[in-house]
């Protein structure tokens, strides 16, 4: 553990923690366009570049669409790239998200989760990134600033794995994580270099081996390209877990890969949460455990690829599962809930489920709300009739 002592603790916001991670990963090209609450990330990086602490090309472009286009241009020259965005900016680059994943460029982007307009609001929920579910990007959600830093480093490791070769979006909650400060370990450069070697790829423009990139594919071949993307996402499931294990061996911090269970081993009732609310849920679980309630938390880190196999098993061990969605898929239910439910109801499962729509547009998800959620799980298990989709803290019904 002597190596670990070489890490230094710093008092950082989530945005700043991401900037330090990017610096350690040594990207060649960074494309930046400001949007709240992400702006601090690219601003901090520009300070590193100005101070010559980073050796990279830093482009200030004229829109998010251009930010992703510039990242892709750099990636197809074989460069490691980085960009960050949020909310409307993510939606504006939507066309490029598909273009990048379809062309299999391992771009890493951090998305500061913020709701989408209208009505205008700059605060956090997951409606921005979840709306990009089918864009072909790996999506990781983090709980705190330390995990934001660590997941960003892991993201390059996952994206650039030759079995994966897909872009990765690391999501951290706007304001709650981006603008709050905590003590963060910044790994030393040598250890990061050991974990993340420099980027090499054959999927690039090369004068010695001329080829065409971003080509057209006719109906005869399009399905095969999509199958390869499907396979790469399936392969990513193992690689995400492996990257986390390797990271843990070097840095001493493990996150569980695609999911992390907290006090679930003998739990009757489990809540599934993504992002910062997982932190509050841990406290509630501890409190309810003291009262003798058999409750647990499933922190979902990887939304795409989705850990279907895990939930299939969970469905056979617990009595009721609640899913906290900081989003709503209008016309159905929370997007995460649909996926969890689809996996839980594997043949043989008798589990009951509730969807909690909560924390929209920055509204707090308090310990009281979380306690109520666990109470509702117990209530449906005991046969009480409760509507499947619950809007938490609604002012009227």
């Amino acid at each position: 553990m002597s190596e670990l002592k070489m890490e230094k603790k710093h008092f950082l916001s989530g945005d700043e923690a991401v900037a330090y991670a990017v610096k350690l990963c040594k990207p060649d090209v960074i494309a930046a366009y400001p949007i709240t609450p992400q702006t601090v990330i690219v601003e901090k990086i520009s300070e590193f570049v100005a101070a010559k602490e980073m050796d990279c090309q830093y482009l200030h472009v004229e829109s998010e669409h251009s930010a992703m286009a510039a990242s892709m241009g750099a990636s197809l020259m074989g460069s490691r790239t980085f960009t960050a965005t949020s909310s409307q900016g993510l939606l504006y680059m939507c066309e490029m998200l598909h273009y990048v994943s379809g062309s299999r460029f391992p771009i890493v982007m951090v998305n500061a989760n913020r709701t989408v307009a209208a009505p205008w609001n700059i605060y956090g929920d997951h409606r921005d990134s979840l709306s990009q579910r089918d864009s072909g990007w790996i999506q990781i959600y983090v709980e705190n600033a330390q995990e934001a830093l660590d997941a960003t480093i892991q993201a390059y490791k996952i994206a650039e794995n030759s079995c994966v070769s897909l872009p990765v979006m690391v999501n951290l909650d706007g304001f709650v994580l981006t603008h709050t400060y905590e003590l963060v370990d910044i790994p030393n450069q040598e250890m990061v270099d050991e974990f993340l070697p420099s980027f090499t790829t054959t999927n690039k423009l090369d004068f010695n081996n001329p080829k065409s990139l971003c080509f057209s594919a006719s109906p005869e071949w399009q399905t095969e390209f999509r199958y390869q993307q499907y396979e790469a996402m399936e392969a990513a499931k193992k690689i995400i877990n492996k990257a986390d294990e390797e990271f843990g061996k070097i840095f001493g911090r493990y996150y569980g890969g695609m999911i992390e269970e907290y006090r679930c081993a003998d739990a009757d009732y489990a809540l599934v949460a993504m992002g910062s609310v997982a932190g509050t849920t841990r406290l509630v679980v501890d409190k309810l455990r003291e009262e003798g309630k058999k409750v647990g938390l499933v922190k979902l880190r990887s939304y795409r690829p989705f850990p279907k196999e895990y939930f299939q098993k969970l469905g056979r061990r617990v009595k009721a599962v609640g899913v906290i969605d900081r989003d709503i898929s209008f016309g159905y239910e929370g997007a995460v809930y649909s996926d969890v439910k689809g996996a839980l109801f594997h043949p043989g499962a008798q589990v009951k489920t509730i969807n909690f729509i909560a924390g929209l547009s920055g509204r707090d998800i308090t310990k009281e709300y979380l306690t109520e959620m666990y109470q509702k799980l117990e209530a449906i298990d005991k046969g009480q009739n409760i509507a499947e989709v619950q809007f938490t803290g609604l002012r009227w019904t």
Binding site: P34, E43, S46, E47, A50, H60, Q88
Partner: protein
């Protein structure tokens, strides 16, 4: 005596959120003043804005207002105007909103010469997100994203608008507010695309970083750097070095888009009969 404008503003939304010393409040008042003096039907007036400090202005104005997406105010306004060409449509936008992320809409709205009144608040910076350089940050100036000085060239907004097809183009400043009122009124009278560049100032995200002194100093810079176009005609190029022109820079009415569209509909209807 300047007119009482209380009825044109949402008083319950004031005070505004702009920083102390920002020029945007002055410019927003000039828009109200120009509307008041132009005898417009307030019930038939729509104000559309994009995103950024400039675009907060629509929220303070007591009209039918739209606060739209970043760069897209002109696209929304084009739709509003086409759906009912009788409406008076104003677009409030900024240098980043109109010439960076929304640059394409800007040149095409001007090219169509659609009857919109565009007031472009130019504060030379992305103020709301904390001071990134925009296409109007002067070369050499500091921004959070140009810590060694901006190496990019700037747009000349009036020249861009004229070349794209705008039929009325003018420039005023937060200091020359009476002139700005007159320019906006001329723009309202013009049947076609009217572009008024309103030079503002951002002490917080631009002035401070570039050591431009107090907001009063920045206002004074606008005063001394601006030359009225009528005066400029009598000055030598040397005397105009480092200055910018204010007043009506271009006024050449020609076929307007919504009128041409209506004519087309009329013609095809007749041919059908």
């Amino acid at each position: 005596m300047r007119p009482d404008l209380h009825h044109l503003f949402r008083i319950d939304k004031l005070p505004h959120i702009w920083c102390p010393g920002c020029g945007h409040g002055i410019i927003t008042r000039t828009i109200g003043e120009a509307i008041a003096e132009s005898d417009l039907d307030l019930e038939q007036t729509v104000i559309v804005s994009g995103i950024g400090c400039s675009s907060r202005a629509s929220g303070y104005m007591n009209f039918d207002t739209l606060h739209t997406l970043h760069g897209r105010a002109l696209a929304f306004a084009t739709g509003v105007k086409l759906s009912n060409p009788q409406l008076n449509v104003f677009v409030l936008t900024g240098d980043g909103d109109a010439t960076a992320i929304g640059g394409n809409h800007f040149i095409h709205a001007a090219r169509r010469n659609i009857n919109l009144n565009v007031i472009l608040f130019n504060n030379n910076i992305y103020g709301m997100t904390g001071g990134q350089y925009s296409p109007l940050t002067p070369t050499g100036k500091m921004a959070t994203t140009s810590p060694y000085g901006n190496i990019e060239n700037n747009f000349d907004i009036p020249a861009l608008a004229i070349a794209s097809g705008a039929s009325y183009v003018a420039r005023g400043t937060a200091f020359h507010d009476k002139l700005l009122v007159d320019c906006i009124k001329e723009g309202i009278k013009n049947k076609g695309f009217s572009l008024i560049e309103a030079m503002s100032m951002c002490p917080t995200s631009y002035g401070r970083r570039n050591k431009m002194g107090t907001p009063a100093d920045m206002l004074n810079d606008l005063k001394t750097s601006a030359v009225n176009i009528n005066v400029a005609k009598k000055l030598t190029p040397e005397k105009l070095e480092g200055k910018f022109l204010i007043g009506t820079l271009h006024h050449k009415p020609y076929r307007e888009f919504t009128e041409e569209y209506d004519k087309l509909i009329d013609r095809l209807r007749k041919e059908d009969i």
